[in-house]
Symmetry: C2
Subunit: 332 residues, 2 copies
DNA sequence: TTGTAAGCGTTATCAA
DNA sequence: TTGATAACGCTTACAA
């Protein structure tokens, strides 16, 4: 594999000049520059990134941490991030944490070990206090995820999850429902990270003078399979809800599918609201009413903010809130 | 950020000894080993991967090239690969080629520049001849994709795509269809990479004495949106097919959704077969008949084979064929 | 505008 | 079993 010395030999200029050509320095004589470029071409030379990383300031690489890439919400987010990064001249390295705290920390080491200039976290498994120390080594941007610690000094791209849940539940209430189940990926406690959605659910019910029925709060649901089990659970309830508000389209899809199997009419016997507006949401029958998260915008903004921090170390952190939207289809 | 010299200072042993501890060399005195470990612990030391890569043989990293991560088939494949790699002590770096030849070559440079020990390609945009030279720098394994060049010296994990298409089309014929459209991601030429599927389609028709109608061959379709357009196109045809065999569940889903909108009954007015058996396939209504590709197995096998090549440079390349299966649901 | 030389954090070779 | 030292490929003072 050709290295910089080979280019030096072939072009007959010094190492520094070659390096300057590689890095597009302004003051090089045309003649030498061309000789170098020609030599690089001829040798099929590519700078060794490990060496650059070891020596230099920049890796032109950003890391993206996702919990589960198979979740379409995240694969779409990653897609958006990857495209914009590429346009900005950054390589993306995608890391799947699988909801594993340890693994998340391992990935954060990319920063410490200068494999990435900055990191976008689309979820955060550890406490912010455990993540914070890594910011010493490079900027971290939170995208889709956020921490409520007022002292946290990070840029965040967030959605108004409170409003999302509130809109969804309120929509069900307006459709006449008063028995509304809530199916979340989190644990419905105050410290929980889905807290904002929980509050939205609570608020909407409260406003309508409806009390929460603990039997209708279903925790830690993530997949299509989970959704099917939820439906089974609902079926066995004596007092059944007439509607269910869900933390993800995947779970909603599972519920919808199982409900039809049990002979439920939707939304007649059970109204369903999802979350995310994943591509499949409109393919379901009936089409799934859901909360649209502007994934592409979020990804784009996250990269822009991260690149901003990278180009200007002093840039103040900020929180950006993107609009969230209720998409009404036939499942409600 | 602590480096090896800091550990040297704190532990009072030489750099080489520290390095030996890091790399688990056998002959070190217990006492020194412990001192080193303690120092590393205390300093929160992590070896700098760039330096290791620059100096050493191994990066304990493998690259995975996918065309589009948003395609659930690929995100599931990546998921499987990532998990097995992690178990084997390898970091995975996921690269999205976006069907771009240039970008693919850029990613292949990971090998040249020692950022990855080996690469798994789940699709291949360039000719094998353009990719081949990279194998000089490390093993490449083809997973899901393959090249028919008999001289190609690569390990491949492949599915019998011919059989997959053949089974799907034959199934339609057995259901009484004779007007069967074919919707592919490729271009239906002999040199095309979807060639095997094309042949399967051809063969099944041929056996039943059915001639191919060129109007029913629809090329370059990939997304849900594409599927919807396909349905619109079919609608405008004077002589319409009664069934359509499709190269992906996404496209099939789009067709199915649009068909229902136009008032078609499925499978009565139009039978549909997908490809992949993506999670959403069973959620559609009617459930989508499709060709199941054993994604998890494929990913696992790919990693195993790659690790094999890595541990044993002399290992002969081989082709592994995994079973493919027809999943019959209600859309046919 | 160009070149020389030091150094980034490791591992491998050699000698002790 | 341990340590000194060179080398990996690059960037960047500094000097010219």
């Amino acid at each position: 594999m050709a290295n910089i010395s080979d280019v030096v030999r072939l072009s007959g200029v010094s190492k520094s000049t070659v390096s300057r050509v590689i890095n597009n320095y302004p003051h090089i004589s045309k003649e030498k520059k061309e000789r170098v470029l020609k030599a690089m071409e001829e040798l099929g030379y590519t700078p060794n990134l490990s060496a650059r990383r070891l020596r230099g300031q920049f890796t032109t690489t950003i890391g993206v941490i996702v919990p589960r890439i198979v979740n379409p919400f995240f694969s779409n987010l990653v897609d958006a991030i990857e495209k914009v990064s590429y346009q900005n001249g950054y390589q993306t390295i995608i890391c799947q944490s699988n909801l594993d705290k340890e693994k998340e920390l391992t990935f954060l080491n990319l920063l410490k070990t200068k494999q990435a200039d900055g990191i976008i976290m689309t979820a955060i498994e550890n406490d912010w206090l455990a993540v914070e120390p890594f910011t010493e080594y490079g900027p971290i941007v939170l995208c889709n995820e956020y921490v409520s610690d007022a002292n946290a000094n990070v840029s965040m791209i967030r959605l108004d999850q409170f409003k999302g849940a509130y809109m969804g539940v309120k929509h069900l209430i307006e459709r006449g429902h008063r028995k509304i189940a809530y199916c979340t990926g989190g644990s419905f406690t105050d410290i929980d990270k889905d807290n904002d959605r929980n509050l939205g659910y609570r608020k909407a019910l409260e406003e309508a003078g409806i009390e929460i029925n603990p039997n209708w709060i279903i925790l830690n649901q993530h997949t299509i399979q989970d959704g099917k089990k939820v439906m089974k659970y609902l079926l066995e309830l004596k007092d059944r809800p007439t509607a269910v508000f869900t933390g993800s389209d995947e779970v909603a899809g599972g519920i919808l599918s199982a409900a039809k199997q049990y002979g439920f009419s939707i939304p007649g016997d059970l109204a369903i609201v999802g979350f995310d507006d994943q591509p499949a949401a409109e393919l379901l029958d009936p089409g799934l009413t859901t909360i649209r998260q502007p994934v592409d915008q979020m990804g784009k903004k996250a990269v822009e903010v991260l690149v901003g921090h990278l180009n200007n170390a002093g840039m103040a952190t900020a929180t950006y809130e993107l609009p969230i939207e209720l998409v009404i289809r036939e499942s409600t």
